[in-house]
């Protein structure tokens, strides 16, 4: 039993959240499972508690708050708002109970993203401080947008860029992807007529051939991949196979991923990296600098934050800022980030910005004791 299970402490957390100006929000414990599985992937299935409604709809005990809160925002078609929550979440973990308390604030719909980013990180730090955590903790910051800009500036093919982006933040997957990138690409074995059409750069003929294969397999109207998509990937593969992998680019990418500096030096380090390698990532770096200014304005000391170029989340809806507060032992006690692509995935008719954080109250309680 952690201290935060007691009613008093839970009320404290609620008070802290509301004091930060967030609207106290409740979402049902029982949630449809599909939005979680669709966004986080099937890997989550092993860790959530699934059940079924009478009609066969897959339901689960909420494994986190961000997605339910975003769905609430979309359903209510609300104006910009900051939602604060405290409650139990359910997840099977290797260490710790499967039922634990989380609290956090999701800031949805505010278009001044720099100010919202800064407020979110400042709120997370203020909440942890207000919970009287005596132990030291470090603040780690990463930026998906800078990583994307570097990949683009390096001229890495679009298909590879997506895979690397999705592996971003998962060191093992990222290294595996980089290794593969260093191998010479192989062209698939193709039927002669298709190969000839591709070699001649005759896209229309190639598409027609692929389409006839799809028709033969009754796949032309099955609602999956069509001839244009398959052909355009083949054309891209042909191009990659012709060009040898560029060891220099990979080295530059590894150099970038090795950047880990105090945030007050990060902008100049990024500018130096940009200049030394002759890359154009000026737009992303300018945004990075603007956000740093907003962080200072929100009262944060940049010297107390570490920028790690390889820090990210391997989920495709994170789009910019990511951050974590960690104890000296490496335990994550708060995590947050910007997820501008998430609300569209959850059914918002037009893009809506979002940034937020969650506190791992059980881990904070443990760090206190």
């Amino acid at each position: 039993m952690t201290t935060f299970k007691s009613f008093g402490a839970r009320a404290d957390v609620e008070a802290i959240i509301v004091e930060r100006g967030a609207v106290r929000t409740d979402v049902p414990v029982l949630q449809p499972a599909d939005p979680f599985l669709d966004t986080a992937g099937e890997e989550l299935r092993r860790r959530i508690f699934l059940t079924q409604s009478e009609t066969g709809q897959a339901m689960c005990l909420r494994p986190e708050f961000t997605i339910p809160v975003c769905r609430l925002h979309v359903d209510q078609a609300s104006d910009a708002a900051r939602y604060g929550y405290v409650g139990t979440v359910f997840r099977q973990r290797q260490n710790g109970a499967s039922e634990f308390l989380q609290a956090g604030i999701e800031d949805i719909g505010h278009s001044d993203v720099m100010a919202a980013d800064a407020r979110s990180l400042a709120d997370a730090r203020t909440c942890v401080a207000a919970l009287n955590l005596q132990a030291n903790f470090e603040t780690l910051l990463g930026d998906q947008a800078v990583f994307d800009a570097v990949l683009k500036a390096l001229g890495i093919p679009a298909g590879w860029r997506l895979q690397l982006t999705h592996a971003f933040g998962d060191d093992g997957a990222l290294n595996a992807a980089l290794e593969k990138l260093a191998q010479p690409a192989k062209m698939p074995n193709l039927p002669e007529d298709l190969q000839a059409a591709l070699d001649a750069g005759n896209v229309a003929d190639a598409e027609a051939l692929v389409h006839s294969h799809l028709i033969d397999a009754s796949l032309a109207n099955a609602g999956g991949r069509g001839a244009p998509e398959i052909t355009s990937r083949l054309m891209a593969q042909l191009q990659v196979a012709k060009s040898a992998p560029d060891a220099g680019k990979l080295e530059t990418l590894r150099q970038f991923l090795g950047l880990r500096v105090s945030l007050n030096n990060a902008t100049s380090e990024l500018e130096a990296f940009e200049a030394n390698n002759g890359l154009d990532i000026a737009g992303a770096v300018a945004d990075f600098a603007k956000r740093n200014a907003a962080l200072v304005e929100a009262g944060l000391d940049l010297a107390s934050i570490t920028y790690d170029a390889s820090f990210g989340r391997p989920l495709d809806y994170y789009s910019g800022l990511v951050f974590e507060l960690r104890t000296a032992g490496g335990t994550v006690i708060a995590g947050g980030g910007r997820y501008d692509r998430l609300l569209s995935l959850l059914g918002a008719p037009s893009p809506i910005n979002g940034v937020g954080f969650s506190l791992w109250l059980d881990r904070i309680a443990e760090a206190q004791s």
Partner: protein, 226 residues
């Protein structure tokens, strides 16, 4: 005298092959006196009792320690039993019931030959089609292990398919499949192709025992003869 229970598949070619193999090892399984009975004896061996169970139940019963040994497909054990390597021990590969669990894509996906290609397609699938790549399979666990843990592919959805899985892509239920195949002829007939590195598991019938350190000498002797 203690009696050990050996679980055998209750029907089909797996049953016949298992009985044949036991006969070769000098154990003649007697037909039950009532042909509808699921219990049988071994000629001259009062210390062995045969229980006929469905192949997937055998996996569960061995893992739970309810039978002393069982003959079933490795695919079922790896799929049905969570962390099976800690719960059951594979004593012998039996050389029949061979089948591979594979990842197959439509043959017309000429641009997809490897899992890495598939990873790329999965990554951009929602941007192109407004939904995740769908995989039809009855092998939830094996698919997740292979895609998520071995190949780092997270962005897909599993569509449960309990039969005629090869037909799922043409029916528009799924884009690709993870299924079991022996000769590959059903895959070809449905214009599907196994990826170059798309073998999830090379399965065959095996003799499994519970991993509890209490395997009887009767079973160990049998394993040597098989």
């Amino acid at each position: 005298m203690s009696v050990v229970t050996l679980a055998l598949p209750s029907k089909g070619r797996l049953k016949e092959s298992a009985i044949e193999l036991l006969a070769g090892a000098g154990l003649e399984v007697l037909p039950p006196s009532d042909p509808r009975s699921y219990r049988a004896k071994v000629k001259g061996r009062d210390d062995i009792e045969v229980a006929y169970l469905s192949a997937s139940e055998i996996a569960r019963e061995v893992a739970a320690g309810n039978v002393d040994a069982g003959v079933t497909g490795e695919d079922l054990v790896r799929e049905k039993i969570f962390e099976s390597e800690n719960k059951v021990e594979l004593l012998a590969r039996l050389g029949f019931g061979s089948a591979d669990v594979i990842v197959a894509v439509p043959d017309a996906w000429f641009d997809v030959q490897t899992m890495s290609d598939l990873g790329e397609v999965a990554a951009s699938f929602r941007a192109n089609h407004g939904r995740r790549l769908r995989i039809a399979t009855k092998y939830w666990q094996l698919t997740q292990q292979f895609f998520s843990q071995m190949h780092g592919i997270q962005l897909y959805r599993i569509i449960e398919s309990l039969g005629a899985t090869e037909g799922a892509p043409a029916a528009g239920q799924a884009d690709i499949i993870v299924d079991i195949t022996t000769t590959g002829s059903t895959l070809r007939a449905n214009a599907l192709r196994v990826l170059d590195d798309g073998i999830v598991l090379k399965s065959e019938a095996c003799l499994f025992v519970p991993k509890n350190g209490k395997t009887s000498s009767v079973i160990l002797d049998l394993a040597k003869k098989l």
